[in-house]
């Protein structure tokens, strides 16, 4: 565990009590409603607010008791603020250089050209912040933080005002940073899509309290947590690559002994991967159907069911080998099919994605 923290913020109306241990690499998503304390927590970690607490990163103590407090500029972190907050007196290039210049050449793990190119900043370099668009500002701000080659990256909704296409360009870059540099990232986002795609761990805040923290997969399917009840509720399954180059642009995986086909990815055979499946993409059948466009049909056991987000729906938990998968179906279908716990069913999976 890399980042150990415990903070007690008391602002009268609002109190944050957070005690967390975050892993030394990978992305931890910070999730919670507006006003639940996500930004406050990031600010405490960055040392921008000083409240009673304890904080250590990779063995270095950053804050402890009233005495020990490493000032922000000595913490090797990158912070993407919720509002872009560019330096208004500096051009985009100078904004980007600001942190870059302050990192000794030998410690630069993220390269200038790479960031510029991936974030599409080239045409903006000579502009001033008030001469670029909102999304462009956000990209510059992201680039600026990355160029300090941080050892810990704090991101407060870095992609909120970006269009889908830009996101699709930037997310793989963040994934690469996460994987290649083993850079721990704390990521605030309201988009479950983004979180599921990037995050390994998840911290759920509610009104300043940590409601849950842990493995993404476990939390997404936990009955008592709200994730199962959202439009985008999903499952993440562990799988093994069987044939990366199957026909029709597909890759074949093995999930608990059964084949699962996904869009082709350049992954070596034998690799363990994680697959994300949204509950809404999973249909159920009593017997494996024929002449139907669903690519995957997995044999599962019905675990239990609970009301879904609307009265017409049910959320069903299925057991696939040792793993749990969610399916959202209509109450009417469940009745028609006479579903019972323990029953063997066939899960028809429309889409699955590597995560």
């Amino acid at each position: 565990m890399t980042l150990q923290l415990e903070f007690n913020v008391d602002r009268g109306d609002f109190a944050l009590d957070a005690k967390l241990s975050l892993p030394s690499s990978g992305v931890t998503a910070l999730f919670g409603r507006s006003g639940s304390g996500k930004t406050t927590l990031l600010r405490c970690i960055a040392g921008l607010e000083r409240y009673p607490g304890h904080l250590s990163f990779q063995g270095d103590i950053w804050q402890s008791g009233p005495g020990a407090f490493v000032p922000t500029h000595k913490r090797p972190l990158g912070y993407v603020f919720q509002e872009a907050s560019l330096f208004p007196h500096l051009r985009v290039a100078q904004n980007l250089e600001y942190g870059f210049k302050r990192i000794p050449r030998g410690q630069r793990r993220i390269q200038w050209d790479e960031v510029i190119q991936l974030l599409g900043l080239e045409p903006l370099l000579t502009r001033y912040p008030d001469e670029i668009s909102g999304g462009q500002r956000q990209r510059v701000s992201l680039g600026r933080a990355l160029l300090t080659s941080p050892r810990l990256l704090l991101m407060d909704e870095p992609l909120a005002s970006l269009d889908a296409a830009s996101k699709d360009e930037i997310l793989p870059f963040l994934e690469r940073l996460r994987d290649e540099l083993a850079l721990p990232i704390l990521y605030v986002s309201h988009s479950l899509e983004e979180v599921i795609r990037l995050a390994d761990h998840l911290v759920l805040l509610d009104d300043g309290k940590v409601v849950a923290q842990g493995n993404l997969q476990a939390l997404l399917t936990a009955r008592e947590l709200p994730f199962v009840q959202t439009e985008t509720s999903s499952t993440v399954l562990d799988a093994r690559v069987v044939d990366p180059e199957s026909e029709d642009g597909l890759t074949e995986l093995d999930v608990g002994g059964q084949p699962l086909l996904i869009t082709r990815h350049a992954v070596p055979a034998g690799l363990s991967v994680r697959v994300r499946i949204m509950a809404r993409d999973v249909g159920l059948a009593l017997a494996p159907p024929e002449g139907i466009s669903f690519l995957n049909c997995l044999r599962v056991t019905l675990l239990d069911s609970q009301p879904g987000i609307t009265p017409s729906q049910l959320l069903v938990r299925l057991k696939l080998g040792e793993q749990i998968m969610l399916s959202r179906i209509s109450r009417r279908s469940a009745n028609t099919m006479r579903l019972q716990p323990g029953q063997t069913l066939y899960a028809l999976i429309k889409g699955a994605a590597l995560s």
Binding site: H73, L77, Y79, F81, S85, F87, H89, Y98, G99
Partner: protein, 229 residues
């Protein structure tokens, strides 16, 4: 040139030197004070803020008088300097620089404090996360964003040093070539009813400072106007 005597020209030169030296030094010295005033939450800072305005409240000659006592051989400062062999500061260029600086303190501290107050906030935090130390942040973020405050501080202090003479006369002693400044000459011309000389010297003073200031303001325009809000 404009019918100015050699003495007048020397006086002009000393004036410019005085105004430049005292403005530069004052701005350098006042910056930390203004920064501290802009940042501190100490309740007693209002005392300091009020104190800063005091040099304006007193008539220049009276300040001059008290300064003379202070800097002269029997004053604390002058006496001390005398005892270590440096010599007291009355009637010296250093003396009038000190006087001029003291006198311009409010013009410099107040605009700088304002500028620093509004330049703070979020961008400072951003700079901190980009590894800039407090000093570094001050020079790379606060200073550039406070450009207009510095401009005002400099202009007010410079201009005021040009025009001030009551106090300078008192502690400077009007020694030609050392502490005789142009404003005294103009004053004398008026006093002695030598109005045409007064007019031309005024004109030179006004025209040259006008040109200088215009150049400064024009230069300032070439910077980006950063409206923080």
């Amino acid at each position: 040139m404009f019918g100015l005597s050699d003495a007048d020209i020397t006086a002009l030169w000393i004036t410019v030197k005085l105004a430049s030296v005292s403005t530069v030094m004052l701005v350098i010295l006042a910056t930390p004070l203004a920064w501290w005033l802009a940042r501190t939450r100490w309740r007693g800072k209002v005392m300091i803020e009020a104190l800063v305005a005091m040099p304006l409240v007193m008539p220049p000659t009276v300040i001059g008088f008290y300064l003379l006592v202070l800097l002269g051989p029997r004053g604390w400062i002058g006496g001390f300097l005398e005892s270590i062999g440096v010599g007291h500061l009355a009637f010296s260029f250093t003396g009038i620089v000190i006087g001029s600086m003291l006198f311009s303190v409010p013009f410099v501290v107040q605009p700088l404090q304002n500028a620093f107050t509004s330049a703070g906030g979020r961008v400072l935090e951003v700079a901190a996360t980009l590894r800039a130390s407090p000093m570094d942040r001050f020079f790379t973020v606060i200073l550039p964003l406070s450009r207009r405050g510095f401009l005002t501080a400099g202009v007010l202090s410079f201009a005021h040093s040009l025009g001030e003479f009551g106090m300078i006369l008192m502690i400077g002693g009007n020694i030609p070539g050392r502490t005789q400044v142009a404003s005294i000459s103009i004053y004398n011309h008026v006093e002695t009813m030598n109005y045409s000389a007064a007019h031309s010297l005024s004109l030179v003073l006004v025209l040259s400072s006008f040109t200088l200031l215009m150049a400064i303001f024009a230069l300032n325009r070439r910077f980006k106007v950063v409206s923080v809000a």
